[in-house]
Structure formats: structure tokens, C-alpha cells
């Protein structure tokens, strides 16, 4: 087995590689995610959403930048913090809202909820409530792609915390051994619940540890949509060409608690306010795009307005939808006769 070591690079931000159309698509995705998360946070406070919510706010540029490069038949697998990944992969936002509110018409028929949000029509293989549950599964999706001779790729999103899980290590090694088109995308938001990555990740970073498994690994500023996109372009291409797996470590802020309702006593004074001021990927992308004349403020404002009303619409529809039928408890336990 040859070991393909490579410099851990951090591409510089530039808007060059992205067309206007692509930028607007990514911006739209990011704004949709942000509004979706704000809306469900509000609905959760009103008691309209059962269970646990882990919001993706602050991390939007990662999912949006990567997913610009994926088609519907590429695969992603997600984590407990999965709404952003689902939306970026083209998931049905109305079906997501209904799922999270446990309503009929939800993407998982109300059986999954936020922590299991999935849209199989879009290659989104599911959020996962087991930390480290996703990476081995994406190895399987990448194995299908390779065995069936497609040029599909599989992406396992994971957090800094998930990078310490044995299942993750095993999946990374197997992907290298089998030379599979798998991307391990670690979104390092600094925290696994209330434990800091600087404590829980023993190596100097996640990317260099991934390199140790024998795959190229890169670090990127995950608040910079353009940098994420540029890097992912190379990485996805590498995988499509059959050159084996790659790891990306994207540094991102976590604007919200680990879960909605988290008192966050472990956060530093003023930390969240500072992050929201200095590391808001939407603001950063917007500023850069306007400055480089990729888009003007007016058209971005129009998108913002359009999305705000779209999210209101799907929320109203989900609120009005009925709960799943009581007779559905025992449907779909098996997929064939039982």
C-alpha cells in the first residue's frame, strides 16, 4: 500500500473559481439553512417541535461549498447536526420541516425526526444520532460507487468530536485500503458537546491524523465559502478519478448551544457574540461577493426576502399538517413480508 502524503494546505480565499450562478446557488443554500435553523429554534421555544435539536448555524459555508460540487446521485451521510447537510444536498425543505415537527409528509414519515433527517432521493443517507455512526456507512456507499463503476463520491460529514471515535478510524483506514471515493469532512467547531477539541483531539489537528492513515488531508477556513469550494473542487475531482479517499478539516464556529436549551456555561465570556460578529460565513461571503462584483446587495437582499417567506410558508404548512396515523407504528419495521 503506497502512502500518498501531501502537504496540508489552506487555500487562500478568492472568488475567482466560482461563477455568479454558482455563488447565488450557494448563497441561497446558506441563507436557507440559516433561516431554517432560526425558524425551528423559534418553533422549538413555542413547543411545536418535540425532542432534541442541534443547529448548524455558523457552519453553512461548508455544506453549501461542498454540495455545489455534488450531484443528486453522489452520497452524503450526516451527524446529529444534520439539517444543513440535508438542505445543501437538495433535500426537500418542506418535508424536513414536517419531519422535525413529527407530521405527515415528513421525509421519514415522522419516525425519524431532526436527528435522523434524510432524503434518499437526493443521496442524503441520513443524519445519525450515534457519533461516529456515519463514516463506516459512507465507506460502503463509496464501495458501491467503485464496484458499480460509477463516478459517484461519498462524503461523511463529522464533527471534531467524531474524529476521536474508533469507528471513524476504522472507516478511514478501510477507505484507504480499498482506495475508495470517500471524503471525510470534519467540521471542527471547537466543541463536542461541552468539551473542547483542543482537549479531546490528542494530535495537533484532525487533518494530520488523517494523513497518518495514508490519505491526503487538507485544512480549510470553513467560514470562507470560496475557500471551501476551491478546495472541494480538487478533492471531489481526485475522488472521481479513482485516486482514493481524502480528508478535509474545516474550522467553523458554533453559534448555538450543543443542543437547543444548552446553558453553555463552558463558553468563554462574550465568545458567541464575537464569533457571530467576526465569523459569520454569510456575511463574509456576501461582502466578498459584492466587493468582487459577483453579486450586488440588492439581488442578495431579494434572495433573503424570498427565502424568508419560503421558510414561513413551509413552517405554516408543517404546523397545519396532521400527525402520522396511529396505525403507522408497526409499518416499515421490515421491508419485505414478515
Amino acid at each position: 500500500m503506497s502512502i500518498d502524503t501531501q502537504e496540508i494546505t489552506k487555500p487562500k480565499a478568492s472568488t475567482k473559481g466560482m461563477s455568479k450562478q454558482q455563488f447565488l446557488k450557494a448563497y441561497r443554500t446558506m441563507r436557507t439553512i440559516r433561516d431554517f435553523e432560526d425558524k425551528i429554534s423559534e418553533q422549538f421555544m413555542k413547543g411545536n417541535i418535540p425532542g432534541f435539536l442541534h443547529l448548524y448555524s455558523g457552519q453553512e459555508a461548508v455544506a453549501a461549498g461542498l454540495c455545489l460540487l455534488l450531484d443528486d446521485d453522489d452520497y452524503v451521510i450526516s451527524t446529529h447536526r444534520g439539517h444543513g447537510h440535508c438542505i445543501a444536498k437538495g433535500g426537500d425543505v418542506g418535508g424536513m420541516m414536517k419531519e422535525i415537527m413529527a407530521k405527515q409528509g415528513g421525509l421519514c414519515d415522522g419516525k425519524g425526526g431532526s436527528m435522523h433527517i434524510a432524503d434518499f432521493d437526493k443521496g442524503m443517507l441520513g443524519a445519525n444520532a450515534i457519533v461516529g455512526g456515519g463514516p463506516p456507512i459512507i465507506v460502503g456507499a463509496a464501495l458501491s460507487a467503485k464496484t458499480l463503476g460509477t463516478d459517484r463520491v461519498g462524503v461523511a460529514f463529522g464533527g471534531d468530536g467524531s474524529s476521536n471515535q474508533g469507528t471513524t478510524f476504522e472507516a478511514m483506514n478501510l477507505a484507504v485500503v480499498l482506495k475508495l471515493p470517500a471524503i471525510f469532512l470534519f467540521e471542527n467547531n471547537g466543541y463536542g458537546e461541552g468539551t473542547h477539541a483542543s482537549y479531546a483531539v490528542g494530535s495537533k489537528d484532525i487533518a494530520s491524523r488523517a494523513q497518518g492513515f495514508g490519505m491526503p488531508a487538507y485544512k480549510v477556513d470553513g467560514t470562507d465559502l470560496f475557500a471551501v469550494y476551491e478546495l472541494c473542487k480538487q478533492v471531489v475531482e481526485h475522488c472521481r478519478q479513482g485516486k482514493g479517499p481524502v480528508t478535509i478539516e474545516a474550522s467553523v464556529p458554533r453559534f448555538k448551544g450543543h443542543f437547543e436549551g444548552d446553558p453553555q456555561a463552558y463558553r468563554g465570556d462574550g465568545e458567541i457574540e464575537r464569533l457571530m460578529k467576526e465569523e459569520d460565513c454569510l456575511e463574509i461571503a456576501r461582502k466578498a461577493a459584492v466587493k468582487k462584483k459577483l453579486a450586488n446587495a440588492k439581488e442578495l437582499d431579494a434572495i433573503d426576502e424570498e427565502i424568508a417567506s419560503y421558510i414561513n410558508e413551509v413552517t405554516e404548512a408543517a404546523l397545519a399538517a396532521p400527525a402520522p396515523g396511529d396505525d403507522e407504528l408497526l409499518t416499515n419495521v421490515y421491508s419485505s413480508a414478515y
Binding site: F52, N164, G166, G194, A200, Y266, G268, L330, V333
Partner: protein, 337 residues
């Protein structure tokens, strides 16, 4: 006597055990919380707040926040147990047992037997279980049956704060690997709990109610629904023996058999999927050993044979409810042979 919650009772047991025996350590994810962060340490004290205050008292060498790494948490606890410590490892949700099950049932459970009695594994694995929080298929399961079936493991499932403290102190001083199953629905329930240290022995059932018409055995939180039903029946003049085994391994078979021999009727309630669960196990023991005393078929009240659904109406239908228990009880009482 002071009244304490289930959460406080377990916390007190941990405090007292750690104060008394310096070989007792606590480890797991977020057992204190805030490691490496700019804000405060002991930010969570466990996701359910059960280990709060241990870190400030006993320090980082004995209250160990780990990365997310269940196999290594349990393996490290087992190795430490074999070599002089008495670890209390926390696995958060019982659903996460899947990640590290080898370390539990192939390693910790088997040391003593497989090594001819030369190795010991005095450790406790704490976890939380139970449906009703709309937490979905991977954060709601009660898998007590999966550990109860493993020879070498002891399994404890307290239903009240008094038992929780006494059973925890017993678990920590026990020389085997003990799985300590906390029901998340019970953390805020309270009862009288003495301040001093005491133990509740394993394998000794508790009678919540005594009666003669029917025996009801229940595991974990469904016990409280059973009690509500039993009290309603009592108003109608029907009295039940209500038995909480408190530990599923060892199981106090004698208490259950004795009761059934007297009442001739049995309902068993748990919140597990119905196949090969605790209700099945207890039913089979009674069918085998007290067949002659039975005056009606045994009735099991369990969760449904499906993963735990997210939607509240479906989850409520999945969970055994008071109405299900009452219907089963009436059916068994009305059975005429």
C-alpha cells in the same frame, strides 16, 4: 428523613464512595464538562447532571472527561478495574452500548471466569435509558435484556431514589462488572433517602404493594404506572402483589415464584421490545417453575416490536401505558379456567 431526587441520590452515593475509597474513579463523556474550554468546568456534570460536583471535590485525576470514544472508555475501565481501581464509567444513553459492546460482553464480563478466577473486574457502567423524550430510535431504547443475558454481568435498574443510592453503593463495592441502568423519566422523582451510606443487596426484590389476587412484576419506570393501576384496583377491592426485582441479574426468582404460587396470576411489565425481553424471561421462569400454581395464562405488557418512533403519538403507542397494564390485569383476573 431527608427527601432527595433519584439524581441527587446517585450523586450522593458517588460522592460518598469516592470520599471513602480513593480507588474509585469516574470517567466518561462530559462527566464534568468544559474540559479545554474558556468557560467553567463542571459545566454539565454528566448530561443528566448526575456527576455534578464530583470534579471540584475529587479533581481531574479521579473525575475524567474523555473524548467521544466508548470502546476505549469501557476498555480502559475494565483494564483499570483489573489492576487496582474501581471505575464508574458513564456511557450516557444505553443506546451507545452498541459502540463498545465487545469491551462489555467479551471482555469485562468474562475476565473472572475465563482466567480461572484470577482476574477481577470491579467496575460500574452507568447509563440512561427509557422512551418518552421524543429522542428517537437511537436515544430511547431500554436494552436491559441484552446485558442481563450475559453471564458475568450484574444488572441493576432502580425505580426510586432510595434504591438508587443503596444499589449504587453496592455496585461500587461489588467485585464484578455491574451495569447500572438509570431511567431518564425517574431523575426528578424523589423519596426519603438517608444521608448515611447504606447498601441495597443485589438479587433481593422489593414489594411495592402486597396483595392476594394477582402478581405484577415490573422493571424500571413502568413500575410507577403499575402502582397507579394497582391503587385504582385496590379501591375496587382487588389487591396485587407488586414486585420490583431491582436487579435483573441476579434475579430474585424466589420472590416472584412465591408470590405467583399464592396468587396464581401474573402480569409482567417492561419497556423493552417484546421478543426475548425481561418480560419473556420472567414469564418463562414462572411457566417452568410454578406452572401448577397458575390459574390463568401469564400476560406480558411490553413495548412494540419496532424501533422507537419519533412522533409523539407513535412513541406513546410504542410505550406500555397504564391503560395497557390495566387491560392486561383485568384480562388475567377475569380468566376462568
Amino acid at each position: 428523613m431527608p427527601v432527595k431526587t433519584y439524581r441527587e441520590a446517585i450523586n450522593e452515593a458517588l460522592h460518598q464512595a469516592m470520599a471513602e475509597d480513593s480507588s474509585v474513579i469516574v470517567l466518561g463523556e462530559e462527566v464534568s464538562g468544559g474540559a479545554g474550554c474558556d468557560g467553567s468546568r463542571d459545566a454539565y456534570g454528566g448530561v443528566m447532571g448526575v456527576t455534578k460536583g464530583l470534579l471540584p471535590t475529587y479533581g481531574e485525576s479521579r473525575v475524567i472527561d474523555t473524548p467521544i470514544t466508548e470502546s476505549a472508555i469501557i476498555g480502559a475501565a475494565a483494564g483499570a478495574a483489573q489492576t487496582g481501581l474501581r471505575p464508574v464509567a458513564e456511557l450516557m444513553f444505553m443506546d451507545f452500548f452498541g459502540v463498545c459492546f465487545d469491551q462489555i460482553y467479551n471482555q469485562a464480563a468474562k475476565f473472572h471466569y475465563m482466567f480461572g478466577g484470577k482476574a477481577k473486574c470491579p467496575m460500574v457502567i452507568r447509563c440512561t435509558t427509557g422512551a418518552g423524550w421524543r429522542a428517537g430510535a437511537q436515544h430511547s431504547q431500554n436494552l436491559t435484556q441484552m446485558v442481563t443475558m450475559v453471564p458475568g454481568l450484574k444488572v441493576v435498574c432502580p425505580t426510586n431514589a432510595y434504591d438508587a443510592k443503596g444499589l449504587m453503593l453496592q455496585a461500587i463495592q461489588d467485585d464484578d462488572c455491574v451495569i447500572f441502568v438509570e431511567d431518564k423519566i425517574l431523575y426528578d422523582t424523589s423519596c426519603e433517602v438517608p444521608d448515611e451510606m447504606y447498601t441495597v443487596p443485589f438479587g433481593e426484590a422489593k414489594y411495592y404493594r402486597e396483595g392476594s389476587d394477582l402478581t405484577i412484576v415490573a422493571i424500571s419506570n413502568p413500575m410507577h404506572k403499575v402502582l397507579a393501576v394497582a391503587d385504582r384496583l385496590e379501591a375496587e377491592g382487588i389487591t396485587c402483589d407488586v414486585i420490583d426485582p431491582r436487579t435483573t441479574s441476579p434475579l430474585d426468582e424466589e420472590a416472584i415464584l412465591e408470590s405467583v404460587e399464592m396468587t396464581g396470576r401474573l402480569v409482567v411489565v417492561d419497556e423493552m421490545t417484546p421478543r426475548c425481553g425481561m418480560a419473556s424471561d420472567i414469564s418463562s421462569i414462572v411457566a417452568e417453575k410454578a406452572f401448577g400454581s397458575l390459574r390463568a395464562p401469564i400476560k406480558k405488557v411490553t413495548a412494540a416490536h419496532s424501533p422507537v418512533p419519533f412522533a409523539p403519538n407513535l412513541e406513546d403507542a410504542w410505550i406500555p401505558q397504564e391503560a395497557d397494564i390495566e387491560a392486561a390485569v383485568r384480562q388475567v383476573l377475569e380468566y376462568a379456567s
